[in-house]
C-alpha cells in the first residue's frame, strides 16, 4: 500500500517505549480492548431527533452502547401509519362495538344496539380496507387465507376477520331490515363473542415482532388495546345512542378509559428503556394527546350526562379521537424503537451481562 511510508513515520515516535512484540503504545497487544467503534460513535443519528423535552433525560440515563455508524439493526416496519394504526383503531372500534351492541340489545336498548351494529360493520369494513390497502400487492389479499398459522397473528387475524366480518355484517343488515330476527340475534351474539378477539389480536400482531417497544411489552399491550377499543366504542355509543339509552355507554367509557390509561402507565413504568419511545417524539405527542382526550371524553361523558346530545356527542368524539391517538402513538413508538439501534443493543447487552453474571462463568460466553 502507498500509505506505508507515512504510517511508518507516524508510529516511529511512539515506538520508543515498546518492550517487544505484542506491546504498542496502547498497551499489551492481545489484551482485550474496549469495544468502542470510534468512527461509528462519532456520527450523529440520521434522523437527527435528539429533542430533549421536559426532563425526559432524567428518567432513563443515556445508555452507552456501540453501533455500526448509528444505523438501525432492525429493518423498521414498512407499514404506513394511517393504514396500520387506522386498522388497529377501527378493528378495536368494531370489536368492542359488537359487545356493546349485544349488551344494548339484551337490556332493551334497541336504538343503541342498531346504531352500534351499523358502526361495527362500517368500522370493520374500513379496517379491512386499510389492511388491504397497505399490502404491497393488494390484488393478492386472498393469499392471506392460503394457510392457517397460529405462529402468525396476521394469519389468525385474517381468519378471524373472515368469521367476524360476515357476522357483524349480518347483525347490522338483519337489524336494519328486520328480516330473520333469530338469525340476526345469532349473528349479534357471534359478533359479540368474536369482537373482543378482533380488538386484541392486533396487539399480538404488533408484539409478535422483533420491534423492542412492541415485543417487550407483549404482556401489557393487549390490555391497552382492549381499553382503547372499549373507550372508542363507548365514545361511538355516546355519539349515536339516544339519551335514554346512553347510560351503559358512559359506564363503559369509564371502564375502557381506566383500562387503557392504567395499562399504558404500566408500560411506562415497567418496560424500562423500551418505554422511552412512548414518551418521546411523535409517539410521545400522540400518547399524551390520547391520554388527555380519553380523560376529557370520559369526564365529559360522566359529568355532562343528561345535558343534552351535544355534550354527549362531544365527549364521544373526544373518546374516539383519544383512542385513535393512542393507536398512532403505539405505532410510532414501535417504529422509533426499531429505527434507533440503542433499543436493540442495550437490552440485549444487559441480558447477556445478566446471564454471564448468573452463571458466574462469563468468560465462556462467546459473545458476552
Amino acid at each position: 500500500m502507498s500509505g506505508d511510508g507515512t504510517s511508518g513515520s507516524e508510529t516511529g515516535e511512539g515506538a520508543t517505549g515498546e518492550g517487544g512484540p505484542g506491546v504498542s503504545k496502547e498497551g499489551v497487544h492481545g489484551e482485550r480492548p474496549g469495544r468502542e467503534a470510534e468512527i461509528g460513535k462519532g456520527l450523529a443519528r440520521r434522523n437527527g431527533r435528539r429533542g430533549r423535552r421536559r426532563g425526559e433525560r432524567a428518567m432513563v440515563p443515556e445508555a452507552e452502547f456501540t453501533s455500526y455508524y448509528g444505523l438501525p439493526i432492525l429493518n423498521p416496519p414498512t407499514w404506513k401509519a394511517t393504514d396500520i394504526a387506522g386498522y388497529f383503531f377501527l378493528g378495536g372500534l368494531a370489536g368492542a362495538g359488537s359487545v356493546l351492541a349485544a349488551g344494548a340489545q339484551l337490556t332493551g336498548r334497541p336504538a343503541a344496539a342498531r346504531a352500534m351494529k351499523i358502526s361495527s360493520l362500517a368500522a370493520i369494513g374500513g379496517s379491512t380496507a386499510l389492511l388491504i390497502h397497505d399490502l404491497g400487492r393488494p390484488a393478492r389479499f386472498a393469499n392471506m387465507l392460503r394457510v392457517m398459522k397460529p405462529t402468525s397473528p396476521m394469519s389468525m387475524g385474517s381468519w378471524l376477520l373472515g368469521a367476524y366480518g360476515p357476522a357483524a355484517g349480518a347483525a347490522a343488515v338483519l337489524d336494519a331490515t328486520g328480516l330473520f330476527p333469530r338469525l340476526g340475534a345469532a349473528a349479534t351474539a357471534g359478533a359479540a363473542v368474536l369482537g373482543p378477539l378482533v380488538a386484541t389480536y392486533t396487539a399480538a400482531l404488533a408484539a409478535d415482532t422483533a420491534v423492542p417497544s412492541w415485543h417487550d411489552v407483549h404482556r401489557e399491550l393487549p390490555m391497552v388495546f382492549a381499553g382503547s377499543a372499549t373507550s372508542a366504542a363507548a365514545g361511538m355509543g355516546l355519539v349515536v345512542s339516544p339519551a335514554r339509552e346512553a347510560a351503559p355507554m358512559r359506564t363503559a367509557a369509564v371502564f375502557g378509559a381506566v383500562l387503557e390509561l392504567a395499562a399504558a402507565k404500566l408500560i411506562e413504568h415497567r418496560a424500562g428503556l423500551v418505554a422511552e419511545p412512548y414518551k418521546t417524539g411523535k409517539a410521545g405527542r400522540y400518547m399524551r394527546a390520547g391520554e388527555i382526550l380519553t380523560a376529557a371524553g370520559t369526564a365529559g361523558g360522566v359529568l355532562l350526562a343528561g345535558r343534552g346530545r351535544t355534550a354527549a356527542a362531544l365527549s364521544g368524539a373526544a373518546l374516539l379521537a383519544g383512542s385513535a391517538c393512542t393507536r398512532f402513538g403505539i405505532f410510532h413508538a414501535g417504529v422509533q424503537s426499531a429505527e434507533d439501534p440503542k433499543y436493540t443493543v442495550v437490552p440485549q447487552r444487559e441480558r447477556l451481562t445478566a446471564a454471564a453474571n448468573e452463571s458466574g462463568n462469563g468468560a465462556r460466553n462467546g459473545s458476552g
Partner: protein, 301 residues
Amino acid sequence: MSSLVGRNLLAGPEPDVTENSGYTDPPPRMGFFTDTSVCIGCKACEVACKEWNAIPEDGLEFTGMSYDNTQGLGADTWRHVAFIEQNKPMGRAQAGVEHAGAAGGGPTDMRWLMASDVCKHCTHAACLDVCPTGSLFRTEFGTVVVQEDICNGCGYCIPACPYGVIDQRKGDGRAWKCTMCYDRLGGGLEPACAKACPTDSIQYGPLDELRERAALRVEQLHDLGVEDARLYGEDPDDGVGGDGAFFLLLDEPEVYGLPPDPVVTTRDLGSIWKHAGIAAAALFGGLAAVFTVHGRNGAGR
C-alpha cells in the same frame, strides 16, 4: 402445544429442523460460515449476488461514513460488506507476517474490520413463522426462502426479523431476501457469493462441517494471539436456535451492526396469545358487568 414445545419448534435447539418441516430423508442442512478475519472488503460477494439473482440497482449513494456505501441488508442487497475503522491494535490477525520487522517497529494501533453480512437462515426463523401466506418456507437444505409468486407484500416479516435482513422492494411491494441461491443449490453448485469470494472468507457447506471448521479456526486464531476472535450465531442454544449462516467476528457483534443476543419473537408466542386472550376476556367480562349493573332499560331508573 406441549408436543410442539417438546420438539423445540418455537425456540431452543432443533437439530431436525428440515425433517420437522415435513421433508423425509432431506440432504444435510447447508449453510454459510463467514470468516471475517480473512475478508478483504472487495465486495465481490455483493456483486456476484446481484448478478446471479438479477437484483435491481438500489441507489448509488455516497454515505461519506466509510468505504461502505451499501449500508445494510435489504430487499435489493442480500450480501452487505461492513467496513469499520478502529483505533485498536491489529494483533496478529494476518498470520505469517512478522510484525516486529514492520515499518515503525511493531504492529499498528489502527485496524480495519471487514465482514460480509447475509441472511442468517435461522433455525427458528421469525420471518417464516409470522408469514401469513406461507410464502416464506423452509427448503430441503434447511434454508429459508420467499416464494415471490405468493408473497402479497403484507410486510409482517420485515419487523419480525431480529437481524434486519428482509425488506420490501420499492415499486414491487413484495418482500425479498437471500435465498442462499436456492436455484444453484438444487443443481449442486455453491451460492454465487461463496463462489466469488477470493479469500474463502465465505465458506459454503453442510452446517455440521462448517461448525467444526469454525471451531478449529477460532482456536487457531487464539493461538496466534488474536484473542478477539469469536463465533457468532453458531450456537444451537442461542435465541434463534443457531444460524444457518454464522460468522467469525473480531469484535462485539454490534460493532458490525449485528444484534448481540437476538431472540426469535415466537419464543414468546404462548405468552403473547395468552395475554391477548386475557385482554379479550377482560373486555368481554367488563362490558358484561357494565350491562349487568345497568340492567334492563327503564327497569332500574
